[in-house]
């Protein structure tokens, strides 16, 4: 086909449940991508799988499939997603169950696996792969007992293979977001996986749409210019064989697509723009050319890139203690003084009970008096009210739980005009921290498997 229409209906787990359905029903699309994995989602899925071997995938995806499966099949709109999590086979079984309930058959679902390296960590470390933290350089061996998940970010190739085998739905575990656009482009246009410029074009296309509405008017600096944000259209790419593409959205939707909205998303979560390292290539964001082709149509072209590195990025998560936070609303007059007294009282009562936190393990924020941009925005002298937010973290769960018991008492034993306490005692939450590392791609790629089954 001349142009391929690729869309992204979910920028993160927790994004709009209606956006992917609106994309499907609001116009023509060939591909629908969805992202279900935040950095630490896989460790949550790990817990679920430990309790129940049939769990460990994004159950929200099954709800989506239930809503739209007949249309997907009838219109041959192909869905690529990482909803497979730690159990893509379980997810596929569930999809087939739903298909059977709906009386739909004759379509294929692919499972891509090989990203999960958790069971192999001891063997990898023993054979010299340090999996050092990319920010601190500490070796993973130092936290190995606390690791709850470890997945390599796979690139687009396995997804291309799945599409080549006729899959309507491709269920992956951890796969780079940018592959959700690159794979359809590489598959439809027969791109070579050594064509660095085109691979970079697909990678950049994916980066533009991977956060959903953030390129179509969402989170835009000049927000007052954006029409009908309530009904913002999620992005649609019209991709061409030469690697150029148009960013647009369905007719009749809110939001807007301009050089400025696309530029902002290009710079989102960006490091060195000349070297955007992905599993398939290293893309050069300084080569991108943007042109406003018409209302809500931005053409992206000129993209160049370099060969992929010998490594894949690994996202691991590990347990790092517990945290809890509590909030109270403090009204004026003298809201700031009362809030500061309240915070001091809470710490003193905890110390009296033998519970103290290191300075960098506790926080006091006055929301409404410069919690976000201290030193930059002016704090009001006399806010009419503010929200006092206290937080603690510690490896000792008991200490964090004890903190949670000290918030409510101030309502009757502290200064006046303190309100807004609901929801019971703040409970300790396990802190699941993120460990980014690199692993030689040869250790992963030989074990990547694509399996396709038909309903």
């Amino acid at each position: 086909m001349e142009t391929v229409r690729i869309s992204n209906g979910q920028g993160f787990w927790g994004d709009s449940v209606d956006a992917p359905v609106e994309l499907l029903r609001g116009g023509e699309i060939d591909y629908l991508g969805m992202d279900y994995l935040a950095e630490v989602t896989l460790s949550i899925m790990m817990r679920q799988k430990l309790k129940n071997p049939e769990a460990g995938y994004a159950t929200d995806f099954i709800g989506f499939v239930r809503r739209v499966l007949p249309e997907l099949v009838q219109r041959n709109v192909r869905v690529i997603c990482n909803a497979g999590g730690l159990n893509p086979h379980g997810a596929r079984a569930k999809v087939f169950e739903v298909a059977s309930e709906l009386g739909v058959s004759g379509f294929k679902v692919a499972v891509v696996e090989g990203d999960d390296i958790l069971p192999r960590l001891p063997e990898l470390i023993a054979s010299g792969h340090e999996l050092a933290n990319m920010e601190t350089a500490e070796p993973m061996a130092s936290i190995i007992d606390r690791v709850t998940s470890a997945n390599a970010y796979l690139g687009a190739r396995a997804v291309v293979e799945a599409l080549g085998q006729g899959a309507l739905i491709v269920l992956c575990g951890r796969v780079t977001d940018t592959a959700l656009a690159l794979a359809p482009m590489a598959y439809e246009f027969g791109w070579d996986f050594e064509d660095w410029d085109r691979l970079s074009a697909g990678t950049i296309a994916g980066h533009i749409i991977e956060c959903g509405a953030q390129c179509t008017g969402g989170n835009f600096s000049r927000w007052w210019e954006v029409p009908d944000l309530w009904n913002v259209g999620y992005p649609v790419l019209e991709a061409s064989a030469d690697g150029s593409f148009v960013v647009t959205k369905h007719e009749g939707t809110g939001g807007m697509v301009t050089v400025d909205t696309v530029s902002e998303q290009l710079l989102y979560e960006m490091g060195d723009p000349r070297e955007y390292v992905g599993p398939d290539c290293v893309a050069d964001f300084t080569s991108i050319r943007l042109d406003q082709e018409g209302p809500d149509r931005v053409r992206v072209s000129g993209i160049k890139g370099k060969p992929r590195t010998p490594f894949l990025k690994v996202s691991a998560s590990y347990l790092e203690g517990f945290k809890a936070s509590g909030q109270l609303t403090v009204s004026g007059p003298r809201a700031v003084e009362k809030a500061e007294l309240t915070a001091a009282m809470i710490w003193q009562r905890l110390e009296r009970a033998g519970v103290a936190f290191e300075p960098d393990q506790k926080t006091v924020e006055l929301l409404g008096v410069n919690a976000c941009l201290p030193g930059i925005t002016a704090a009001p002298d006399e806010p009419p009210e503010l929200v006092l937010r206290l937080g603690v973290r510690d490896h000792d769960r008991g200490k964090v739980a004890r903190f949670g018991k000290e918030i409510a008492p101030v309502i009757t034993s502290g200064p006046p005009g303190v309100t807004g306490f609901a929801g019971g005692r703040p409970k300790p939450q396990e802190v699941v921290a993120y460990w980014p590392a690199l692993l030689a791609r040869a250790e992963v790629e030989d074990r990547v498997r694509v399996s396709v089954e038909e309903a």
Partner: protein
Amino acid sequence: MLVPLYRVAHARSGDKGDGSNVGLIADTPEIYALILEQVTAERVKEYFREICKGDVERFEVPNLNALNFILHDSLGGGGTESLKTEAQGKTHGQGLLTLEIEVPANLLKPAN
């Protein structure tokens, strides 16, 4: 004339490990030349002194009339570890837009 950046530019920020990245995009190539000269990494570090505990790096993206800043150690540990309300850097871009620079009057559009 001394004007805040939001008169002549726009921005987007997000998290990048334990720090944030702030992309600053000039409205025109002429304004880009001005921000190249005036919005240095040192200036951004000073402006964010109460927020950014590490170094500030600056990258140039001339094809987009933009600069990209990385503000290391500005999120209290970032992600799920941070105790801060602002653990994602989503407000840093709007904060940078309040920084003032010198702009010749003929390059200014009327204020919104």
